[in-house]
């Protein structure tokens, strides 16, 4: 069947409207060749980074696991990934800078276009910027450094803080967790390392921005956050990439440890171009009376498979995942959340909202588990899907494994289609069809967006508006 004109127009609009699709000419200092992932490539990456032997061993072991594990058969269609074509490591400059002036001009220009230095001046406590495989810039407010806060590129942290690094690295998400965590463990590079000492509260967010620039790029950052007892931190990540006709792969691993009485919020505003496979493993361990909050906003990408997880390890721990996914033409957002209640008196909440448009597809995939012995558990799960047209699709796969009886679990799910009557009502008040659809979508997303700091909320509203342009065929 021929693709209808309106859909073709929609696809074209979607591609044209992606304003982050610009490319920067950059000559890499070092890059690994195409032709598939080999032991030599892994050794070359490790050698280039002058890593300790244990890390090289860790990487090589992970490579074996990656090679052995089959591709996941569930979730999205991964058949388009060509592991032979990917550059697994691409180093754009020698080492991370702490002054924007030292960052090579082409790279600095990219981040200026993306508004990063400006954001740093205005409302951030610390900033990281990753270009291809490496963090090119990292900085932290001086008073936070004095208090013992560490915010570094993960590579730098491995060199500077070897003990604490080794204690926590790979403990929350082991290499063998899944095929893509194994891949990341073999070739990881860049990402943020954060350590917040006991009782230290970081008021303003720390932000890291991840930019893929080259074609056929594989970006495998590794983030590790440790919030010590009674501390708190809010980390924000943003991601974009240029639009290419070939596919890129982003496969990160994010591990978080939230100790007794601490709080971590991890906010993602991802807006990959539509040629990026985004396959990310994110997990947090929350201990006694600790609180973990994932706020996950997924726009763009070709396929996203991401299910931020929280293991509630000790009594009093609280976990929350709120997510928003927008699946436009030729996109599949397979996202959700996983919560594991491993201790008594723990609570959790999941709010997942998805919007599908122009034959886009969104899937909610969730796991709620209450382990044997965990009593007095409270959990609330709600998933809402909004379909903007008849060609779009939404599926919900909530899995519950409840091995105890003293639990209070509520689950709600709704699917609604944007209605002709709603559109007519708003149009009768003077809104165009596009403005009306946009208002309905923004209203639907508002409960998630209002959780974001103001600057990000404005940005996300703007991104949603961009996704909505050309919504009328």
């Amino acid at each position: 069947m021929a693709v209808p004109k309106s859909t073709q127009k929609l696809i074209k609009n979607t591609l044209d409207d992606y304003k982050f699709g610009f490319k920067t000419k950059n000559t890499a200092v070092f890059k690994t060749p195409q032709g598939g992932l080999t032991r030599e490539i892994v050794e070359a990456i490790s050698a280039r980074k002058k890593e300790p032997k244990w890390m090289l061993d860790y990487r090589l072991k992970a490579l074996e696991i990656f090679e052995k594990k089959a591709m996941p058969k569930w979730g999205g269609d991964l058949s388009g990934i060509n592991f032979e074509k990917i550059h697994y490591y691409l180093q754009p400059q020698d080492k991370p800078k702490t002054d924007w002036n030292d960052v090579p001009k082409d790279i600095k220009d990219t981040f200026e276009k993306l508004g990063i230095p400006e954001a740093e001046r205005k409302f951030l406590a610390g900033t990281g910027a990753q270009f291809e495989s490496e963090m090119v810039y990292h900085s932290l407010q001086k008073e936070l450094t004095k208090k013992g806060v560490v915010f570094e590129s993960t590579d730098v942290a491995l060199q500077k803080y070897p003990e604490i690094f080794k204690e926590y690295f790979g403990k929350v998400i082991p290499a063998h967790d899944n095929k893509f965590s194994a891949l990341n463990s073999a070739v990881w590079s860049g990402g943020s390392f954060i350590y917040v000492p006991k009782g230290v509260h970081i008021e303003l967010p720390l932000q890291a921005y991840f930019r893929i620039n080259a074609e056929n790029m594989g970006q495998f950052e590794r983030t590790l956050i440790i919030a010590d007892e009674g501390s708190s931190v809010h980390y924000v990540e943003g991601c974009t990439a240029p639009t290419y006709s070939t596919d890129s792969l982003h496969s990160a691993v994010v591990e978080i440890i939230v100790k007794k009485g601490a709080r971590v919020q991890y906010t993602t505003i991802q807006n990959w171009s539509t040629n990026v496979y985004n396959l990310v493993t994110k997990r947090a361990f929350a201990y006694r009376d600790a609180e973990m909050f994932w706020l996950d906003c997924n726009l763009g990408s070709k396929l996203t498979m991401k299910y931020p997880a929280i293991f509630l390890m000790e009594p009093g721990a609280r976990g929350e995942v709120q997510s928003l996914a927008f699946a436009n033409s030729n996109q599949h957002q397979d996202a959700g959340a996983k919560i594991v209640h491993n201790a008594s008196n723990t609570t959790s909440k999941i709010v997942a909202k998805s919007i599908s448009k122009g034959a886009g597809r969104s899937t909610y995939r969730g796991l709620l588990k209450v382990s044997k012995g965990a009593k007095n558990i409270k959990s609330h799960v709600s998933c809402d899907a909004l379909l903007l047209d008849g060609a779009s699709r939404s599926d919900t796969y909530p899995t519950m494994k409840i091995e105890e009886s003293e639990v209070a679990i509520a689950h709600e799910a709704t699917v609604s289609k944007i209605g002709e009557e709603q559109l007519f009502y708003l149009m009768s008040r003077g809104l165009t069809e596009e403005e009306a659809a946009s208002a309905i979508v923004n209203g639907f997303a508002k409960p998630i967006i209002k959780q974001l700091p103001m600057e990000y909320a404005l940005e996300l509203n703007r991104l949603l508006e961009l996704e909505m342009t050309g919504s009328v065929g």
């Binding site: 007519f424 149009m427 009768s428 008040r429 208002a439 209203g443 997303a445 508002k446």
Partner: protein, 257 residues
């Protein structure tokens, strides 16, 4: 200075939904400052007339015209008709989750100003007192300003909110589709007063769709029309409404045959 009169002139209007003929030749002219009431039995096409005039996509116009100040409106989008000065108060106002009433109304107001060549936009600071005053007129609590459009409003609150919207948007011709349905007598008086006040202030023309003479005790119509089977079968003044109340539709329908 004499204010220019706005005119909506409907001639021989026919409309279908699917293969079903609903409007079978409506002729009606509404001018600024006039109140027209349309009464008639269920299924006579009263609501359809409003929806067709506002541009609901469900209906297909098969014949006739509707001109606003001489300009054909039937090929315009609903938002374009709104910006010319048409308003429809819905029988069942829609709920728009997550869109606050105040923000939405200011957006609609500013879009209307812009469409009509005004370069100035109303800021939230300027808008709030106007909105609060209007809501006060309709005896609506200010808390509704921050609540989502119609979400969780009672039937009566929705109807009052429609009149608030009308008063804010200041249309030239307003069609109010069963604005009295589901209202108790106190709410009915409040809604009627809101309509009368807006009329006094802006001099708009009103097309009232109603089943009951009751509403017309509080809003005095200049013209009363009886509609049946997609046509206006009889027109008169307010006495006609009284007559209908007393004798029902039967007699008039019989006479019309």
């Amino acid at each position: 200075m004499i204010k220019k009169k706005d005119t909506l002139e409907i001639s021989n209007l026919h409309a279908n939904i699917g293969d079903l003929k609903i409007l079978n030749g409506i002729n009606l002219t509404i001018k600024s400052g006039e109140i027209h009431a349309i009464m008639g039995p269920n299924g006579s096409g009263k609501s359809t007339l409003c929806n067709v005039l506002m541009g609901h996509p469900k209906y297909e116009v098969t014949k006739g015209s509707a001109k606003f100040n001489g300009k054909e409106i039937l090929d315009l989008e609903p938002n374009e008709r709104a910006h010319l000065g048409l308003f429809l108060g819905f029988q069942h106002p829609l709920e728009i989750s997550g869109v606050s009433t105040g923000t939405f109304l200011r957006l609609a107001k500013n879009l209307s100003l812009k469409a009509n060549g005004e370069t100035k936009q109303i800021s939230p600071m300027e808008f709030m007192p106007i909105l609060k005053q209007t809501m006060g007129l309709l005896k609506m609590d200010e808390k509704f300003i921050t609540r989502s459009v119609n979400e969780g409003f009672s039937g009566g609150e929705k109807k009052r909110a429609e009149i608030v919207q009308m008063a804010i948007l200041e249309p030239k011709i307003a069609m109010l589709d069963e604005i009295d349905s589901g209202l108790d007598i106190d709410a009915l008086k409040i809604v009627a007063e809101g309509i009368n006040e807006t009329l006094k202030k802006t001099g708009l023309g009103v097309l009232l769709i109603t089943h009951y003479q009751r509403l017309l005790n509080y809003i005095t119509p200049d013209f009363v029309h009886v509609m049946a089977k997609g046509k206006i079968i009889k027109s008169g003044d307010k006495k006609l409404a009284k007559e209908l109340e007393k004798n029902g539709y039967e007699e008039i329908l019989k006479k019309a045959k």
